[in-house]
Every structure is written in structure tokens, then in C-alpha cells.
């Protein structure tokens, strides 16, 4: 049975961004009902029992995060919407914001109502100019319709939403980096604890969520917890730490496929299905060599691993970091893995914030090694160094403050371990790359 999209249901409609259009499709009815009939705690409980996990990358249970807020806090409590979507090849939030801003706004309203936030900051990356303008229009409409501001729909609940435009840095997507940036500082991630739920924006309790997660909240409350739990993958009984992967997910398909794009599917679809059924297969009739399963920081997969289901646990089983943003980037059999890795290392070297030594120097070192590889001067020992550096940087071994370094190390160790033969051949042949790396995007 074909899956009927809910998050993207309105994306292709003619009048998808206006309040009228959204209302015609039943928009804000859920919010009005919740505002009348449910308490914030009930909303939180619903989201918690639905098992909604954050769609930003780490997959932290969303309802659980909300319960970390201090009980009975006098306020203000803030919601930060993280639209600093800078993971390469990821564009699911962009589509949500540009095509259906009111759905996101309703999610913001419902979530804010759940944990009594009185201000929401919509942190959108600089590059999403259109998204920013569309969202601003939606917010203005909502204010005019009494859906935002003081005493929403005649209730006692008030919420203000402000848009904050980032200045274009990958690290602003890290939640505490985002908070620092929002406060007007250099986006250096904070040391945790305290976590943002205890001390976030302006030293007040703060929840940071991503628009896709918030959009899911709308549908959990609209269609019910049972509907949400009927989609996706239940927890692995053998893994007590698995919280399950319920609900729909937006998958971005890009790279060497015939029809790149964004699809909404239940969690747990395999990469092969994604490429063949939704991406139109690998381009030019070639075979795939591998793919990036969920944004580049999640690592790399070989073609043989394409049957891995893309739920929150699937990619881990083949040595990837996790589901990430669900952005699959395919590269065909003629792609040089050295070039791929060179480009990835270049990205992280450029985007490391420079706060922690292992990440600042490690990402630079890995890039220098890859640069040397491409000049035909790679050495076998370099592979050991790459692996070691990649293994030892990051929040998981405890050597950095945030997870950027884990993300920088993962594709490197995946590439070296899974495509070692190709690296060795590259070294042995003394081949140098003929293709020029694309220039870094300048804004």
C-alpha cells in the first residue's frame, strides 16, 4: 500500500503558503481544540507516548526533552526553532518552511503551549532568504488572525514569534551554538551541563527543535498517537536502549540519481528502495558505488549496505553514526572516493568553529592529508593516521564540546575502512586526481 504523505500533503498545492489555504485544509483546528480541551502537560504526554524523536540528527526523544524543563519555572521559557539547516545535501526543512509555513507555525504554537513557552525564536540560516520571507509573511498573517500575540484565540495563552537570520555557519545548527549566535555572540557551542532545557537563551530554560519535528507534533495531535505509532519501526526487542522509530520522515535524495528530490515515507525505508523507487535509480545507467546515508556527518555506506533500513538504528548497524537528517547522497561507480573524502574533509575543516583543539587541528590535518592524496603524494601510513584522528576526536570519546568533530571523523573512518582497497590502489598507482575541486560556496 502506498504511503499517503501528511507532512508534505500540502506542499504542491497552489496556495500552500497562505493562512486561508492552510485553514481550508483544516489548519489550526487542532491548535484551537488543544487550546480549549487539553493542558500543556497532556500535549507533552501525547508527544512522549507517540515516541516522536527529534528529526535534527541525533534522534533524541522529543517529549522527553520537553520534560527536562524545570518544573514550575516562573518563566520566561523559550522555544528555538532550528532552521540552520546546514548539513550538506539536506533540504527537508527548507521545503517545509517554504511550502507550508503555517504547518510549522502550528507546530510551534502547539509545542510552545505544551511547555508554556512565551517566546519562540525562528533561527533560519542566511541562505534561506525565500524561506525567511515566506515565514515572516505567515507570522504576520497569524498575528493578524489572533493566532499569535497576546491572549491567543481568547485564551490566556500568549506567544510571540521572532525570526532571527543566521550569518551562515554550520556550527549554528548545534543547539548551544545556535543559542550563542542568537544572543549575538560567536557561535561557540557551550559546555554541557547545563543543558539548554535548564539554561539556554539568555540563561533561561530553552527547548531547541527542528521544524520537521514540530510539524510532526501537529499530526500527532491531529490524528492521534495510535496513528503515529502505526507508522515506522517499533523498538528492537534485543536492544533495550532503542526507543523505536515511529512516524513519517522526510528523505532528501540527491547526488547521482535520475530524479533527486524530497519524499515523505515511513521511517525504516531502505536506501535501495529510496534510490530505485523514489530517486529514479542511479543516473546514466551506472551502478552506485556508495552513498552518504543521512548528511555527510553520518558517514558513508557501500553499495552492499544499501539494504539497511533508514530508521534511527539502521545505519548504526553498518558503522554509520546514525540516521542524521535522512539526506541520502548517492555517488556512482566512477566517483573517486578520494575526491569524495577530500571534499568532505574540506567542508569540516572550513566549518569547525575552532574552539576545541582536537577538532580545530584534527579537521585541518585530515584535510591536509587528503589534499596531499589528491596530489598523488599519499602514503600508506596516512591511512592509519586518518583512522586514528577520526576515531579520537569528538564528543563520544570525550575530547570535544560538541558533536561536530564526531561528524567530521565519521565519514573519514568509514571511507578508510570501507573503501580501503581503493585508497591503497590510489597510493600504489601514484595517481593524482584530475578533477578540480569545486570552489567553496561564497556568500
Amino acid at each position: 500500500m502506498a504511503y499517503e504523505p501528511v507532512l508534505l500533503a500540502r506542499a504542491n498545492k497552489a496556495d500552500s503558503t497562505s493562512l486561508e489555504g492552510y485553514r481550508l485544509d483544516g489548519g489550526y483546528e487542532t491548535f484551537a481544540r488543544v487550546l480549549k480541551d487539553m493542558t500543556g502537560q497532556q500535549v507533552t504526554d501525547a508527544v512522549k507516548s507517540a515516541g516522536l524523536r527529534g528529526r535534527g540528527g541525533a534522534g533524541f526523544p522529543c517529549g522527553l526533552k520537553w520534560t527536562f524543563l524545570p518544573k514550575g519555572h516562573p518563566g520566561p521559557i523559550y522555544l528555538c526553532v532550528n532552521v540552520d539547516e546546514s548539513e550538506p545535501c539536506t533540504f527537508n526543512n527548507r521545503v517545509l518552511v517554504e511550502k507550508d509555513p503555517h504547518q510549522v507555525l502550528e507546530g510551534i504554537l502547539l509545542s510552545s503551549y505544551a511547555f508554556k513557552a512565551t517566546t519562540a525564536y525562528f533561527y533560519i540560516r542566511y541562505e534561506y532568504g525565500a524561506g525567511m520571507r515566506i515565514m515572516q509573511k505567515a507570522i504576520d498573517e497569524a498575528y493578524a488572525a489572533g493566532l499569535l500575540g497576546k491572549n491567543i484565540l481568547g485564551s490566556e495563552y500568549s506567544l510571540d514569534v521572532f525570526i532571527h537570520r543566521g550569518a551562515g555557519a554550520y556550527i549554528c545548527g548545534e543547539e548551544t551554538g545556535l543559542i550563542e549566535s542568537l544572543e549575538g555572540k560567536r557561535a561557540w557551542p557551550r559546555i554541557k551541563p547545563p543543558f539548554p532545557a535548564i539554561e539556554g537563551v539568555f540563561r533561561k530554560p530553552t527547548i531547541v527543535n527542528n521544524p520537521e519535528t514540530l510539524a510532526n507534533v501537529v499530526h500527532i495531535l491531529r490524528k492521534g498517537v495510535d496513528w503515529f505509532k502505526s507508522i515506522g519501526v517499533p523498538p528492537d526487542p534485543k536492544n533495550p536502549r532503542d526507543a523505536g522509530s515511529y512516524g513519517p520522515k522526510l528523505y532528501c535524495i540527491s547526488g547521482h540519481v535520475n530524479t533527486p528530490g524530497l519524499v515523505e515515507l515511513p521511517l525504516g525505508v531502505t536506501i535501495r528502495t529510496l534510490i530505485n523507487e523514489h530517486g529514479g535509480g542511479v543516473w546514466k545507467g551506472k551502478k552506485a558505488k556508495g552513498c552518504i546515508p543521512g548528511g555527510i556527518s553520518m558517514g558513508l555506506m557501500t553499495e552492499a549496505e544499501f539494504d539497511t533500513p533508514l530508521d534511527f538504528n539502521g545505519p548504526c548497524r553498518v558503522g554509520c553514526l546514525g540516521l542524521g537528517t535522512g539526506a541520502v547522497t548517492v555517488f556512482d561507480e566512477d566517483t573517486s572516493i578520494v575526491d569524495v573524502l577530500h571534499n568532505l574533509c574540506r567542508f569540516f575543516q572550513h566549518e569547525s568553529c575552532g574552539q576545541c583543539t582536537p577538532c580545530r587541528e584534527g579537521t585541518g590535518w585530515m584535510f591536509k592529508i587528503m589534499d596531499r592524496f589528491r596530489k598523488g603524494q599519499g602514503r600508506r601510513e596516512d591511512l592509519t593516521v586518518l583512522e586514528e584522528v577520526a576515531d579520537k576526536i569528538g564528543i563520544m570519546p570525550g575530547t570535544t564540546i560538541c558533536g561536530l568533530a564526531d561528524g567530521a571523523g565519521w565519514p573519514v573512518k568509514n571511507a578508510v575502512r570501507k573503501f580501503r582497497a581503493e585508497f591503497e590502489k590510489y597510493i600504489q598507482d601514484g595517481s593524482a586526481s584530475r578533477s578540480k575541486p569545486l570552489p567553496m560556496a561564497a556568500h
Binding site: A169, R186, W188, I191, Q349, H350, E351, S352, C353, G354, Q355, C356, T357, P358, R360, E361, G362, T363, G364, W365, K368, I369, D371, R372, R379, E381, D382, V385, K392, M396, P397, G398, T399, T400, I401
Partner: protein, 565 residues
């Protein structure tokens, strides 16, 4: 009572709130660290202090955290277990050092910091012997004009951000920031806004490597040739604890010495850079006597005898005409000895306190964005009173004369011609604010029958004297200074006074006819017995941090500890 286990060794930390680095220090274990500094906020970014931490349960079992944690950011409590040299911790420390050295130029042979560089020390203690990098190092251009006193060797920087935090948290002037991202990060100032504040040179001490260099000290000395003694800055009544670094009789730099009782961790640029007169070739080097045929340099003994004879004669004629002016730059011991000598002639001999230099108002830091002192408790204060020991000299004067008689009394007496013999004690520093003795009163000195002057440089005042003793600077003598809150601190000599000169205390000792050399700790005991208000000097030792009024002094001065921060 809380017990922390550092490498299996139990340490009692009492009720103090400490992090792992501090707790380990208590146990005598060094956890290497760069970005952590006790006076600055914790950023936990250098990742040098990675250790394994666990908890000892009441039943004796120990559960360790699965990953290494930064010691500076991890608080300890009762039962915390810190392991600094396990394989995991060692590995993490080694890797951090390897990372730090990737782009470090290793130009130690021409680096000012070599010898006291923590990157050298930690590499030796915790690092690997070789680098695995086969690529070119980054060589960002140096910034020699970071500030009037500061030079930045950009390539040596390890981005610990201590200097940036200093300008934000202590000076409040916020000149420094980090520009660029990742391994392109650099310390920088905004164009037209150099690192120029009254505390700026502290960033040189804070810098764990040779990136920030003091222009005053740059390329002057290798630090291992320097002799370091503990002393106190004489620049103002804050009485900052300092180190004097000198070599072969020349002072090369002053550095702040951490002392929570005095000033904390820092010192101001004026005090730090205000030592150059001590090295001057123009200093008075030998005593001289003014005879009928002009000035004759004489031996030290002859000068002492002449002064003694002169005072003896004139005190017999008129004891009320005997005056001594004590300067607030003298040590407690010197003031005591001089007062003792003058009072030997008779109870009516006059003792007055010389002028106390003041300049503006107390200058509190941090500043806010408008340059006013920020609200809250100041973290550093440059005091308006520009002398180190007014309180100490006053305590001596009070003992001898009951009240402190000001300098005006001397000038009035001088105007009326009542001053027959006078001893103008030395110590006043040539500060560029004019000579301490009012110029209009200098001609009046003509009528004084016996004028003894101690001076560092020759001046209009010493030209009028009958006997001139070259004065020693504070870096050449030992003694005690009492700062604005009465904290008594020891000062020590780094070099001998130049030429034939003796320390001021030795001159008084010889005038008194006491034999032997001036020994500050013996005199302190004597003073404490004679003057109850200075009982804090009773053991003769004041420790490295000094003794506040009412505090019990240490029985013996502790051995110097090598500071870890």
C-alpha cells in the same frame, strides 16, 4: 569533609568547591591545562586536562565514567576518583599535544617563552617525541602592533583564549577577539583599537606559549639565565606581589605573583614597566661630602662618620632642630632603624612623614563599555596612593611620636629657620611626576647646618646636602611593606646596590653603631616586640602571601612552590 581520590591517593578537600585540576593540585598532581586559569571563566576548550573521572561508592566499588572528561570543567565531590595517568587519559593528553604542535612553529630557539613555556613542559611531560604530520604548517603573519606593549606571534598561538577572556572579564576593555574559524582562527584586534589598557601586559603572563610577547622584554634574555625573587611592587598601595627577574645586577622584567590576599593574579603596566630607573647608569654610585671646595666622593665609612658627627654636634646645640623625614617608600625595618637613630639624640628630635604621592582616584577594573568601573566587586584596583608602605611607616611613626606629623610641619619649621640638622630619607622613586621635595623650599635648605640626603639620582635636593648617600631601590633590599589594608609582605633583593652604595637599612644600622649586616627577619622580630601594633611580624617570617593584621604569622617561610598555572 569531602575526600577525593587522585591517582589512588586520598585528599581531603574540606568544604571547598573545586574542579579536578584544583583537587589534583592539592594532592600534588599536575593535570596539564592551557585554557583553564583560576582567575578566568572556564571554557574547557583546550582539551589538555582530559582525565578519567569516577565515583567511589560507600560500599567501596568504583564506577568510572565511560569517556575522558575535561578536569577544569568537572567539579569534584566526596568520593570522586580522578585518574590522570591511565592509558586512556594519557592517550587523550598525548593526542591533544600532538594536535597543538601540528601548526606550532617550534621556533623555540628564538622564542622568548622558551624555558618557561607550558607547551614545552607538557610536551616533555605528557607528549610524544615525534610528529606524524608531513604537511606544511600554517604560517599566518605576525601582528607586531597588537598594542603599544604587546607583540603577537600569530603562528605560535594555541588558541587557549585566555587573553581574550582577560580583556573581557578582568580589564573589561574587550580589545581582543578571535577572528576566522577552525584552524584559521587568530587572535586579533579591531583596526584602530589596539590592545592598550592599563593592564594589557598581563596577557603575556597568561599566554601559555610565546604568542604574546612583551615588547619591553622581547629578545632581552633567555629566561633560564634570570634570577627570580619574590617581592612587592612599589608603584601603589595595592602592593601587588611580584617576581623580580634579573641577571647580573640588571632587572629585566617584573611579573605578577599570584596572591589572593594582595591583588589576585595580575599587576598593572605602570608597575610592571616602571623599573627601568633601577638599571640606569646615571644612578648615584658612591657617597659624597660637600666641603668648602665642593663635592668629594668619599668612602662609605667616612660618609657615615661625617653624618654621625654632624648630627651629634647639632643635637647638642638644639635637640628640637634635629629633623628626619621618612618616606612612605621605606620598608618598615628602615623606618624603624632611622627613627631609632634620630630618637637616640633625644626625645624632642622630630620625625615626620614625607609627602605621600597621590594621583587621581582609585582605578577599579573591570571597566564597562564606557570606560567606567563596572558594577560589582572590582577584580583589580590601581590605587591613587602611589607609594607602597605609608601604613607601615605610619605605624613606626605613631610608636615614636604618638601621632603622625605631616610634611607640612617640616616645611613650616624650615621656613622659620628652626631646622638645624635634617635627614631626608630616600626611597622616593623617580616617577616622572616631578621631584618629591617642593622646588620652592630647596633654597631654604641653605640654612640647615647638617643636611643628609639619600637619593637614587642626583637632584637639586642632593646639591644642597652636606652628605649624600646613594639610595638603594626596592629591588636591592629586603624588608617589609604594608599595603593599603595592612597586609605585611616581604620584599627581597634581586641585585646589589650599584657601586659603593649600601642599602638604606645598612646605612641606618651603621649610623646606629650596630654591627653586622641588615637582616630583615631579625629586625621584624625586634619590631614586633617593641611595637605591639605590628605584632604580625613576630616570627620574622611572612610567608609568600604575607600576613594581615591580626593573623598569626608562619613560623618559617615555606619553600618556594613551582606554580602550576
Amino acid at each position: 569533609m569531602a575526600t577525593v581520590y587522585v591517582n589512588d591517593q586520598p585528599v581531603d578537600i574540606g568544604n571547598e568547591k573545586l574542579n579536578c585540576v584544583q583537587a589534583a593540585e592539592k594532592a600534588g598532581v599536575l593535570i596539564p591545562h592551557y585554557c583553564y586559569h583560576p582567575a578566568l571563566s572556564v571554557v574547557a576548550s583546550c582539551r589538555m586536562c582530559l582525565v578519567e573521572v569516577g565515583e567511589k561508592k560507600p560500599d567501596g566499588t568504583i564506577s568510572m565514567m565511560p569517556k575522558v572528561v575535561p578536569g577544569c570543567q568537572t567539579p569534584v565531590k566526596d568520593g570522586t576518583v580522578i585518574v590522570t595517568r591511565s592509558d586512556k587519559a594519557k592517550d587523550a593528553q598525548e593526542r591533544t599535544l600532538e594536535s597543538l604542535l601540528l601548526n606550532h612553529p617550534l621556533d623555540c630557539p628564538v622564542c622568548d617563552k622558551a624555558g618557561e613555556c607550558t607547551l614545552q613542559d607538557y610536551s616533555f611531560g605528557f607528549g610524544k617525541a615525534e610528529s606524524r604530520m608531513h604537511d606544511e604548517k600554517k604560517t599566518p603573519p605576525n601582528k607586531p602592533d597588537l598594542g603599544p606593549n604587546i607583540d603577537l606571534f600569530t603562528d605560535r598561538c594555541i588558541m587557549c583564549s585566555r587573553c581574550v577572556r582577560f580583556t573581557r572579564e578582568i580589564s573589561g576593555t574587550s580589545e581582543l577577539y578571535i577572528t576566522h574559524r577552525g584552524d584559521h582562527s587568530e587572535i586579533a584586534v579591531f583596526p584602530g583599537d589596539p590592545l592598550d589598557n592599563k593592564l594589557s601586559t598581563n596577557v603575556v603572563d597568561l599566554c601559555p606559549v610565546g604568542a604574546l610577547a612583551s615588547k619591553d622584554f622581547l629578545y632581552k634574555q633567555r629566561v633560564w639565565n634570570l634570577k627570580t625573587v619574590d617581592s612587592v611592587c612599589p608603584g601603589c598601595s595595592t602592593g601587588c606581589s611580584i617576581h623580580i627577574d634579573g641577571n647580573k645586577g640588571v632587572i629585566h622584567r617584573l611579573r605578577p605573583r599570584a596572591n589572593p590576599k594582595a591583588q589576585g593574579h595580575f599587576m598593572c603596566d605602570e608597575g610592571r614597566l616602571g623599573y627601568h630607573y633601577a638599571n640606569s647608569a646615571d644612578r648615584l654610585r658612591e657617597p659624597s661630602i660637600r666641603g668648602p671646595h665642593g663635592w668629594t666622593p668619599v668612602g662609605y665609612r667616612e660618609a657615615v662618620q661625617t653624618a654621625q658627627q654632624g648630627f651629634n654636634e647639632h643635637s647638642l646645640r638644639s635637640i628640637t632642630g634635629v629633623w628626619a623625614v621618612l618616606s612612605p617608600f621605606m620598608t618598615v625595618e628602615e623606618a624603624y632603624l632611622l627613627a631609632l637613630w634620630i630618637r637616640d639624640f633625644g626625645k624632642e628630635a622630630r620625625l615626620v612623614l614625607g609627602p605621600v604621592p597621590r594621583e587621581g582616584e582609585d582605578d577599579h577594573y573591570p571597566k564597562d563599555c564606557r570606560g567606567n568601573a563596572a558594577p560589582g566587586v572590582p577584580k583589580f584596583t590601581i590605587r591613587a596612593e602611589k607609594c607602597p608602605n605609608r601604613i607601615g611607616v605610619e605605624a613606626i611613626l605613631k610608636h615614636f611620636t604618638g601621632t603622625v606629623i605631616g610634611f607640612d610641619a617640616f616645611l613650616t619649621a624650615l621656613g622659620k629657620g628652626h631646622v638645624k640638622s635634617a635627614f631626608l630619607a630616600g626611597g622616593y622613586l623617580p616617577t616622572g611626576r616631578g621631584h618629591w621635595f617642593p622646588a620652592e623650599a630647596v633654597p631654604l635648605l641653605e640654612q640647615v647646618n647638617m643636611l643628609v640626603v639619600q637619593e637614587i639620582f642626583t637632584s637639586a635636593l642632593s646639591q644642597k646636602a652636606h652628605v649624600v648617600f646613594p639610595s638603594a631601590t626596592w629591588a636591592e633590599k629586603e624588608g617589609t611593606f604594608l599595603n593599603h589594608q595592612g597586609l605585611a609582605q616581604e620584599i627581597h633583593w634581586n641585585s646589589a646596590p650599584p657601586g659603593e652604595s649600601r642599602t638604606d637599612g645598612q646605612v641606618y644600622l651603621d649610623l646606629l653603631g650596630r654591627t653586622g649586616l641588615m637582616r630583615a627577619h631579625q629586625l621584624r622580630r625586634e619590631i614586633a616586640q617593641v611595637i605591639p601594633s605590628l605584632s604580625q611580624l613576630s616570627t620574622g617570617h611572612l610567608g609568600t602571601e604575607g600576613v594581615l593584621p591580626g593573623e598569626a604569622p608562619p613560623v618559617q617561610s615555606p619553600k618556594r612552590k613551582i606554580p602550576v598555572s
